[in-house]
């Protein structure tokens, strides 16, 4: 049976566009139709400007007619997390404080996507300012997990993962500060890549924690994700932390035989707290790699247990300063009842920020306060340095690290909110990559009995995305999880 358009991967769409079987307009009409039908129940999108999306698609079709396509993905739709700036479009960060804000400029990745002819297809829901792990901290709506609408899609890039998992768009961009791409990718059964720190420009990404944030792709296949990473990776003079390093041909890397590698299984990631079904799926993946001729090595990363506290000190310290600009003076929400400048700050921020954002701002202020700075912030930085060294040493012994992406499958909606601290601890497997600046990929590796997906995480040394893609592709080619899409309503799988 011929596939419906939404069932196609991005590269299949690209192929269909190239062969002239479909137009970009036809593609995005199908996406828009699907968003209209499904998003009421999924809640992945915050904003969809149909006129602009159609105009972009028609422009792409025009280019194709003239033989002037801009890239492989010209005419293919990509949706962006509402934290990445697009000139003239809303940039709310899922916060009341930016509810009516539109960005006057393009993020660097936006410029690159436009230059590649990609159709920017709507703004995706998220946890407010990317703070959260369930997309329940959005000021505007909840997002459901397409695999089971009663469950959370994860977060903070929950909209990015859900939209892809539900087949509303083939690909999306998210941002990952402590796991915000990989964890929702795992929960929604899609592929998510957090690039090395400095691989993708952060210019135009509303900052949460500057030393940890990275933009990355989510897609239904490793190859799609590689194709999107290809477009957004590379140096940008407007981001001083973005590295000037060559960008490999990531799509070609997905087809390259990785040879025989040493793959480390860190004991700390398989210890207490890991769901038994998740463990089983992930260890099966390890067995698969052993059969492919890779050597599976038990390793230890004892500082991993400190990753969560270190993260919540450094991330909140940076966040408290990064979010200070949302003050109601120049743009964004300004309280109607403020009487003077200081009052504008207090009331606008009091009304504009949600509970979790306020909690992290308070935490950040605390750890930076005089008298506490050395005990908290400075010590956290020292531990971060040690942790980075521990991971770098591990990469002297192994080529890749293989772990579960999350301790369990997606939680039910609301479960995250009950105990913030417990929720923070759930991020323990993803946070180390951010602290150490490593690239990481999450890809589907099975399901738990309840039918929810399980995510496999692979980590590599900085700028070894090519190796991650080789090995992830090797796994994907041999398993039926590739291109998975959740079935909603009367969908056909």
């Amino acid at each position: 049976m011929e596939k419906s358009l939404y069932q196609l991967t991005a590269l299949e769409m690209s192929g269909a566009l190239t062969s002239g079987n479909i137009s970009s307009e036809r593609l995005v009409l199908d996406c828009l139709e699907r968003i209209r039908t499904l998003d009421e129940s999924v809640g992945a999108f915050l904003h969809v400007d149909e006129a602009s999306i159609l105009a972009q698609a028609r422009a792409s079709d025009q280019r194709r007619l003239q033989g002037a396509t801009l890239s492989t993905l010209d005419g293919v739709p990509v949706a962006l997390k509402d934290v990445i700036a697009v000139a003239g479009e809303p940039l709310t960060c899922a916060s009341r404080i930016l509810e009516n804000y539109k960005s006057p400029y393009d993020a660097h990745v936006t410029k690159l996507l436009k230059a590649a002819g990609v159709v920017l297809c709507g703004r995706l829901n998220m946890d407010e300012f990317a703070m959260g792990s369930a997309t329940e901290n959005s000021a505007f709506k909840r997002t459901a997990n397409p695999w089971n609408l009663k469950h959370s899609p994860g977060g903070s890039s929950g909209g990015s993962a859900a939209a892809v998992a539900a087949g509303m768009v083939p690909m999306s961009l998210g941002s990952d500060t402590g796991g915000s791409i990989r964890q929702p990718a795992a929960f929604c059964g899609v592929v998510g890549i957090k690039p090395s720190y400095g691989r993708v420009s952060r210019f135009g990404l509303a900052a949460y924690a500057s030393s940890l944030d990275q933009i990355g792709p989510l897609a239904r296949t490793v190859r799609d994700a590689a194709a999107l990473l290809q477009i957004i990776a590379g140096a940008d003079p407007k981001d001083s932390t973005c590295m000037r390093r060559d960008v490999p041909d990531y799509l070609a890397e997905t087809m390259r035989d990785p040879g025989c590698l040493r793959i480390g299984l860190p004991a700390e990631f398989f210890a207490e707290g890991l769901d038994a079904e998740v463990r089983k799926s992930v260890l099966e993946a390890a067995d698969f790699f052993a059969k492919q001729g890779h050597e599976i090595v038990d390793i230890q990363l004892p500082l991993t247990k400190l990753a969560v506290p270190v993260y919540y000190i450094i991330a909140t310290a940076e966040a408290t300063s990064n979010l200070a600009r949302y003050d109601g003076i120049r743009y964004g929400h300004r309280s109607d009842i403020a009487v003077d400048a200081i009052d504008i700050y207090y009331k606008s921020r009091g009304e504009g920020f949600g509970e979790e954002v306020k909690r992290r701002i308070m935490l950040g202020n605390f750890v930076l306060s005089s008298g506490y700075y050395d005990a908290w912030y400075v010590r956290a930085q020292k531990v971060r340095t040690l942790l980075r060294a521990e991971y770098m040493n591990a990469f002297d012994k192994v080529d890749l690290i293989l772990t579960p992406t999350t301790p369990g499958a997606a939680l039910r909606q609301g479960e995250h909110r009950e105990d913030p601290l417990q929720s923070y601890l759930e991020d323990v497997y993803t946070i180390p990559a951010n602290l150490a600046g490593l690239p990481g990929i999450s890809l589907p590796c099975g399901f738990v009995a309840s039918g929810l997906p399980v995510g496999l995480q692979l980590l590599a040394a900085p700028f070894a995305e090519d190796r991650l893609l080789q090995v992830a592709s090797q796994y994907e080619r041999a398993h039926r999880f590739a291109g998975l899409r959740a079935r909603i309503g009367g969908d056909e799988q």
Binding site: I84, A85, L91, C93, L98, Y101, S103, P104, Y105, A107, R202, F203, G204, L205, A206, A207, A209, S210, S211, P237, K238, D239, S240, T241, A317, E318, T320, S321, A324, R325, Y326, D327, I329, R330, Y331, A341, I342, Y345, N365, L368, S369, S370, Y373, Y377
Partner: protein, 487 residues
């Protein structure tokens, strides 16, 4: 008891760069409000700072001028505080690894008179660190307006050790800083335009004590006289408190130039907790030794060194060097002219420090015509001085030539010819004119021969009149002497 003042200064200097500290928007003064802005300056979501290399180099030069240590690495920190003039509500600055450490500034205290050189001292610097300027607030009755044009301008904060002892020293420090920084093209240091701003920490202690007293910080010192008056006021205020047995309260005080008084702004307990931490958006800056070498080579001679050299090399008096060396426009002009006529340094110095200044002052209603607008080229001035030194025209006539050169920019030779100032050196013509003058005044001739040397002057006037001022006075005197001696 007698007290002595201990003063430390924090001087903010706006660096002269084309673009701002962390983005490529132009810097400038006087543009329409909020036109020199972009996403970075306005602190829009997603905007990131990118370092202006030129600001780093300008700051390094300041360190090199004052012989500071330039550490191999300096880094950036965020200073967090809430005020609407700060678009991000944090300022990017350097907290614990500044670009310049230590060093000293040579200052000259006022001399006993204008033509007498004052005492020189060296003022130790603690550090100089680079940061971004904030916007400007204008307060109305019911609202406040903010202009972010100034925001993000590179600002170097130069901090002295608490080693100054009087308002005069503080003023001398600022003057020295201004002379050195303008000469090196680092800043225009115009306090009226906010290009140089000063805070002063003032404390008193019994003379002879080595323990520092409680200090107050004086803010809003927007002019040299403001610095002087505010420090003098604060010394008086503190000494009155101490003399009646009271205690000075550690606080920040705002100077009000109109009332000539300062008022308490905030006390120690209200001091901000700036929650400094390293800025994660910017990498530390590594400064290789080669950069220091290159920048050192670009520096002009230090002001007082130049003054000492002029004294010894050209034998110039303080009255001239203090005019020429203390204004880099004049010293550059002087150097260029001397390069054309090295033997004429003294004459050139005289013209630069006196005649040229007079013309510049006369050319405009108030102040001086800027040197960039002076039409006389250094080479032309050198030419004029060479002509005067050669005895070809009188000094009196040379002044008129200079005036014409100043007005037209024409070469002196042509002007001299046009004005008919070419000195008559044809001695046979001069000889007959002199003879006529002696014959016309036998009384004076008799007096001279009787030993009254001054009587010679009686002949010079008529001779000059007869030559229409073109006669060379020295030559005329020689001829007259010969005639009167009966040769």
């Amino acid at each position: 008891m007698n007290y002595e003042a201990v003063i430390g200064l924090e001087v903010h200097v706006q660096l002269k760069t084309r673009s701002k500290m962390f983005t490529r928007v132009a810097t400038g003064f006087g543009a329409a409000p909020n036109t020199l802005v972009d996403p970075v300056i306005l602190g829009l979501p997603g905007a990131l700072p990118v370092l202006n290399r030129h600001a780093i180099e300008q700051s390094i030069k300041v360190g090199l001028i004052f012989e500071s240590t330039i550490p191999e690495v300096c880094k950036w920190d965020r200073k967090n505080y809430w005020y609407p003039d700060s678009p991000k509500n944090y300022q990017i600055t350097q907290y614990d690894q500044p670009i310049c450490v230590g060093g000293s500034v040579e200052i000259e205290l006022p001399g006993a008179a204008r033509n007498i050189m004052g005492e020189h001292r060296y003022i130790q610097l603690t550090r100089a660190h680079l940061e971004e300027d904030v916007g400007k607030l204008t307060h109305g009755d019911n609202d406040s307006l903010v202009d972010y044009n100034r925001a993000g301008t590179p600002l170097l904060e130069i901090v002295t050790e608490p080693v100054l002892t009087s308002a005069e020293e503080a003023v001398a420090f600022l003057n020295s800083l201004r002379m050195h920084l303008t000469a090196a093209g680092i800043s225009d240091c115009d306090m009226e335009k906010g290009q140089m701003r000063c805070d002063a920490n003032v404390s008193l202690r019994p003379i002879g004590s080595s323990v520092l007293g409680t200090r107050t910080e004086m803010k809003n010192l927007n002019s040299i006289s403001g610095v002087k008056n505010a420090i003098e006021y604060e010394i008086r205020r503190q000494s009155r408190i101490l003399e009646r047995g009271g205690q000075v309260v550690q606080e920040t005080r705002r100077w009000d130039a109109d009332s000539g008084m300062s008022t308490a702004m905030r006390g120690k307990e209200d001091a901000h907790d700036y929650r400094y931490f390293p800025d994660p958006d910017l990498l530390p800056v590594r400064i290789p030794p080669a950069t220091l070498q290159r920048l050192r080579a670009e520096l002009p001679e230090a002001v007082f060194e130049q003054q000492r050299r002029y004294q010894s090399q050209y034998d110039l008096p303080y009255t001239l060097t203090s005019v020429i060396c203390y204004d880099h426009h004049l010293s550059k002009y002087f150097e260029a002219a001397v390069a054309e006529y090295p033997e004429g340094a003294k004459g050139i110095a005289n013209y630069v420090a006196n005649e040229l200044q007079r013309e510049r002052s006369a050319a405009v209603g108030e102040g001086m015509l800027p040197m960039e607008q002076v039409k006389i080229l250094p080479a032309q001035l050198a030419q004029l001085v060479r002509i005067v030194d050669g005895g070809k025209i009188t000094k009196q006539n040379a002044k008129e030539v200079l005036s014409t050169m100043f007005a037209t920019g024409a070469d002196p030779v042509g002007i001299i010819r046009e004005l008919g100032f070419d000195q008559t050196t044809d001695s046979s013509e001069l000889e007959s004119i002199c003879r006529e003058a002696v014959d016309a005044n036998p009384v004076a001739a008799e007096q001279f021969r009787a030993g009254q040397a001054k009587a010679l002057n009686s002949f010079i006037g008529p001779v000059m009149k007869a030559t229409k001022g073109k006669g060379n006075p020295a030559v005329i005197q020689e001829i007259l002497r010969r005639i009167l001696a009966g040769q």
